[in-house]
Symmetry: C2
């Protein structure tokens, strides 16, 4: 019975990763501790201000760990916590589903031709 087991479980998960940017941010830090400037570059199209807030949310949720290396010029990086790793693992099938169905969904979502 590989079924969703409660409605709220998914709701809880979407509270953490909801929105446009958070899944992308998680994707781009999964390879290891990543500096702010590097996340900004990798995610692309996100403003510094918005990235700061998204990272703050993820740190608050204990999904990311923020490390300030206390040096000049400042070096700050972000890494998945063990808790964050479990979230990324749970996201993999959904990510694979999206990748596998990208073309199907693009065709479905394309505006009808006239």
């Amino acid at each position: 019975m590989n079924r969703m087991n409660t409605p709220c479980g998914l709701d809880v998960a979407l509270t953490v990763i909801g929105g446009k940017w958070k899944p992308l941010i998680l994707f781009h830090v999964q390879s290891g501790p990543t500096r702010f400037s590097e996340i900004l570059r990798r995610v692309g199209g996100i403003s510094e201000k918005v990235l700061i807030q998204q990272l703050r949310d993820l740190v608050e949720m204990k999904v990311l760990l923020r490390r300030d290396h206390q040096c000049v010029p400042p070096v700050v990086d972000y890494a998945l916590t063990p808790f964050g790793e479990t979230l990324v693992k749970a996201l993999v099938p959904l990510c694979d589903w999206g990748t596998a169905n990208r073309n199907v969904l693009s065709a479905i979502m394309a505006p009808p031709r006239h």
Copy 2:
């Protein structure tokens, strides 16, 4: 390497199930064809108008099938398509993650006591 394989795959998936209601609706129709009034009752807290729009989106995305039984009084029900079944399956780990971490996240998200 059980990692997310592209940023966009997740984006694609979230385009389909994004928002507050769609995951809940999918949860509540996974057991089989379900009538509109029953979905309304099960989901709870959603207006008829919003439910109609959410169902329309899911039908448009080929995730749900709408069946009008052409009778009086009208009987309309909704069921997962085979494509929708693959989406629900991909959502299971995230749902389980949310369920397993509900208490942890409630504690994290609770406002600090004074």
